[in-house]
């Protein structure tokens, strides 16, 4: 009897860079989605459509909550700056 063929393979990373800014919640959501849900090209069309719609719904939730996380972090930083007597800088941050 012949043994089944097995392989040990390596994947390909990609690099995304920005200049003069960080990545946006939308860009992070797209990155995160690749680790959460994968829709195969050979999936049954009806199931693939459902999966794609589900993925889009998850993306929207991720973007929304990431924006809220950023907002919360700014609130925390605002208060830290105030505690350090950096009122002007705190106000700049609050207005972002």
């Amino acid at each position: 009897m012949k043994g089944q063929v097995g392989t040990l393979e390596v994947g390909v990373v990609s690099v995304k860079t920005t200049s003069g800014r960080g990545m946006t919640p939308e860009e992070w959501a797209d990155s995160a989605l690749r680790h959460i849900i994968h829709v195969g090209d050979d999936a049954i069309p009806a199931i693939r459509d459902q999966a794609l719609a589900y993925r889009e719904a998850i993306r929207n939730v991720l973007v929304l909550y990431m924006r809220k996380a950023i907002q919360s972090d700014r609130t925390t930083l605002y208060n830290l700056l105030l505690q350090q007597g950096e009122k002007e800088m705190a106000e700049l941050l609050r207005k972002l």
Binding site: L8, V10, G11, V13, V15, S31, H35
Partner: protein, 147 residues
């Protein structure tokens, strides 16, 4: 000599059978170091060459030599294929150019190498994010897979 492709290090394959690497969430600490186009990393690379050695980026522009620790994602099965994944790694407020990276095991003695990643050319961030995105965690694409 520049990067010549993506490689799973040959020594890593042997070390898998020796049970040297633990990719579980609370397992070994894996790092990714970044390199310029003078690097000579191939499948024959057996370990992280050392800080600043072999074309590793200089400690500047928010890059720390030795690289950044990756976050392990629990290995799993996609069908009959075992797959391994990491969380995307970001160097924030980065100002540097890299051509590729080396993933190595920072927990084990000698920093044994795992994978050589070719970025496909110069990738530059200027006062921005430099993000290495790992491929879709699936049977045909995951960063490390045993079919």
């Amino acid at each position: 000599m520049a990067f010549t492709g993506d490689f799973m290090c040959s020594s890593f394959k042997q070390e898998l059978f020796e049970g040297l690497h633990d990719f579980q969430v609370a397992g070994d600490s894996f790092k990714m170091a970044l390199y310029d186009n003078t690097a000579t990393l191939t499948a024959a690379t057996t370990a992280y060459p050392g800080a600043g050695v072999g074309g590793e980026l200089a400690a500047a522009g928010n890059y720390t030599q030795g690289g950044e620790a990756l976050t392990n994602i629990a290995p799993t099965l996609d069908g009959t294929t075992a797959i391994c994944d990491f969380v995307d790694e970001v160097w924030g407020t980065a100002t540097f150019t890299a051509y590729g990276g080396l993933i190595y095991n920072d927990t084990e003695a000698g920093d044994p190498s795992v994978i050589v990643c070719d970025f496909g050319g110069a990738k530059t961030a200027t006062a921005g994010d430099f993000t290495v995105q790992f491929p879709v965690a699936a049977a045909a694409t995951a960063i490390i897979r045993i079919a």
